[in-house]
């Protein structure tokens, strides 16, 4: 159960970024998985250089924010008027490039980030040993989620983003520079993905291909939870995380199929997702 929460926390970090990007910019960022992977490898590099996990935790989101912003400016700006398909395909092309570059630089083998000292070992919860690091993941994800929800609901920036998700044209009418908002949003989403990448390091492994396996799950979360909604991402991530943990017990082998079936059903019946704001 707690495993499910840890995994859910991880998925949330990814889903939040993707959801907001999609909600605001109408871009289905298939490169999100590769940002995640990039974050993990940045973390790996920083860690091997400085042996400091916390530094890696800070460096990766920053690096990804810069990269994400650059990508948005260089590539996306030109194709916004071309329609959704081109944008999605562009992100797909980016994924190919980024993943391959990473594999070129780091090789195809699996790496593992060592658990930071102080977070290794296990705690006992209800008599069952549970990896301390996974507990950290849960707490950290909760912290980030809280910060995000507060920012989303209470701050001016959050209000702008929420308004943009509901009605993008309105933002333009209010005199807000849409292109800056887009760049910032994309950079922010990428940063979250990078953060997730570092967090996952000691927990699961780091390898080329980690982007693919997780991306589809994140997509499910975003669809089910609702496009453009942080709360939706939380709910969706929790559901998926728990389903992932309990699924094998209940559905025997078919949990993957059921997750996708649920995604399809949600898309058909309620495309906005459970808590989505987009029309």
């Amino acid at each position: 159960m707690l495993n499910g929460l840890a995994f859910g926390g991880l998925i949330f970090l990814l889903a939040a970024g993707l959801s907001v990007i999609f909600g605001l910019m109408d871009v289905l960022n298939l490169a999100h998985g590769s940002f995640y992977m990039l974050g993990a490898y940045v973390g790996l590099t920083v860690l091997s250089l400085t042996n400091n996990f916390w530094l890696a935790l800070i460096a990766a989101p920053i690096a990804l924010a810069i990269i994400g912003g650059a990508v948005e400016v260089v590539f996306f700006r030109r194709i916004y008027q071309r329609g959704h398909l081109m944008q999605v395909l562009l992100t797909f092309g980016l994924t190919l490039v980024i993943v391959d570059l990473i594999r070129w630089r780091f090789g195809p083998q699996t790496h593992s980030l060592p658990t930071p000292p102080g977070l290794d070992g296990a705690v006992h919860i209800l008599g069952v040993p549970f990896a301390t690091y996974k507990l950290f993941v849960i707490l950290f994800a909760t912290l980030v989620a809280t910060v995000l929800v507060v920012a989303w609901r209470r701050t001016k920036v959050g209000a702008i983003l929420r308004a943009g998700v509901a009605d993008r044209e309105m933002l333009g009418l209010l005199g807000i520079d849409l292109s800056r908002v887009f760049t910032a949003t994309f950079a922010f989403g990428a940063a979250l993905a990078g953060l997730a990448g570092v967090v996952v390091g000691p927990y699961l492994s780091v390898y080329p291909g980690m982007d693919e396996s997780i991306l589809v799950l994140v997509l499910v979360v975003v669809v089910v939870g609702g496009l453009g909604s942080i709360e939706g991402a939380i709910v969706g991530a929790l559901l998926v995380g728990v389903a992932n943990a309990f699924g094998p017990l209940i559905l025997g082998g078919f949990e993957a199929a059921s997750i996708f079936a649920v995604m399809a059903v949600v898309l058909l019946v309620r495309p906005r997702g459970l808590l989505g704001l987009r029309q």
Binding site: D26, L28, L30, F75, R78, I79, R82, H84, L85, M86, V88, L89, L90, F92, G93, L94, T95, L96, V97, V99, D100, L101, R103, W104, E212, V216, L219, V220, V223, G252, G253, F254, A256, A257, F260, A261, M263, A264, L267, L268, P271
Partner: protein, 324 residues
């Protein structure tokens, strides 16, 4: 209009004839069997890409789930060839039927449009993939390894022609590809094809003109699925196996790259694009250039991004420009 288009098609028959002859001649001058096999795979992917083009380029329905129909054909025919008979004609019919059949189920996605359709088809493909790779069904479907040991087909009136030989199988693939091309080309210039284009351009207007657009989209979806299934059948025969990864959404993604690079609004464009993608993917790995060998994805991704940014009409838009 139709007459004009048909005339345009006939304007360059020599070009096509030359291209066809070129393709036929490949076994004669290819350096070794490896390259003939590459050519076969290129043609198989070209068939798949052309079917996607019907859906995407002419119907305006971008799908990340198209590979599911490919996999349906592959698995259906693999099972048939393994347990029943390797006769070619039943296999081809089965490939078409499997693709079409799964498409009828997947047609549920047609209730959505645009990006939601895209996501639905992606979800559908992943659903299919997860069922195919499910180890609990490994007894029937082979789990994540898939089905192996699939025999090559046997020609109906010429059972002595050994399709295990690269050159022979290649010629079969070429024949199928040519037939598919002609069939799709006929569909595309027909009134049905025109209507489909109209739906792509402005579905709302077509409806207000009295066209029941859902039927056309459904028909296009099923036809495309059938042809994809046929490609799957050839693939299973070629690889002696059917694997779940063929249904993964990235396979459809690669096909979309082929379609866009080749040029979505033509039929030959995606075919050529597909062949280029395969050549890049397989050919690069045999080059002596170290370091570059395994990085076809990087090259493909970069080329694709360049096309999306600067030449969204694909190669065929260049060619068409010159022809005018």
């Amino acid at each position: 209009m139709t007459g004009l288009r048909q005339a345009a098609l006939r304007r360059r028959p020599l070009g096509w004839l030359a291209f066809l002859l070129f393709l036929i001649s490949v076994p004669a001058w290819a350096p070794n069997r490896f390259w003939i096999n590459v050519a076969s795979q290129a043609l198989i992917f070209a068939i798949f890409a052309m079917s996607l083009d019907l859906l995407l380029g002419y119907g305006g329905m971008p799908s990340f789930g198209h590979a599911a129909f490919f996999a349906a054909g592959a698995y259906g025919c693999a099972l048939w060839a393994l347990h029943r008979s390797p006769d070619l004609l039943p296999l081809m019919v089965l490939g078409l039927a499997a693709g079409a059949g799964l498409a009828v189920i997947g047609a549920l996605a047609l209730r959505a449009r645009g990006i939601f359709f895209l996501m639905l088809t992606l979800a559908f493909a992943q659903l299919v993939w997860s069922v195919l790779s499910n180890n609990q069904l490994a007894g029937v479907l082979g789990g994540d390894i898939g089905l192996i040991g699939v025999p090559r087909p046997v020609l109906p009136f010429l059972p002595d022609i050994n399709l295990f030989q690269a050159a022979n199988f290649y010629l079969l693939t070429l024949a199928v590809a040519a037939a598919v091309y002609l069939a799709l080309a006929a569909i595309v210039v027909s009134p049905f094809g025109r209507t489909l284009e109209g739906i792509r351009e402005n579905e709302g207007r077509m409806q207000s003109l009295g066209t029941f657009t859902f039927r056309y989209r459904l028909a296009a979806f099923v036809i495309a699925g059938a042809v994809a299934g046929l490609a799957g059948m050839l693939s299973a025969s070629f690889n002696f196996s059917a694997t779940p990864s063929s249904a993964f959404w990235t396979t459809s993604g690669l096909a979309m790259i082929a379609v866009i690079v080749g040029g979505a609004r033509s039929l030959l464009g995606p075919a050529v694009g597909a062949m280029l993608v395969v050549l890049l993917q397989l050919g690069l790995s045999s080059l002596p250039a170290r370091g570059l060998a395994e990085h076809w994805q990087l090259l493909l991704g970069a080329v694709f991004i360049a096309f999306v940014l600067f030449l969204p009409g694909g190669i065929s838009s260049l060619v068409r420009g010159r022809a005018n």
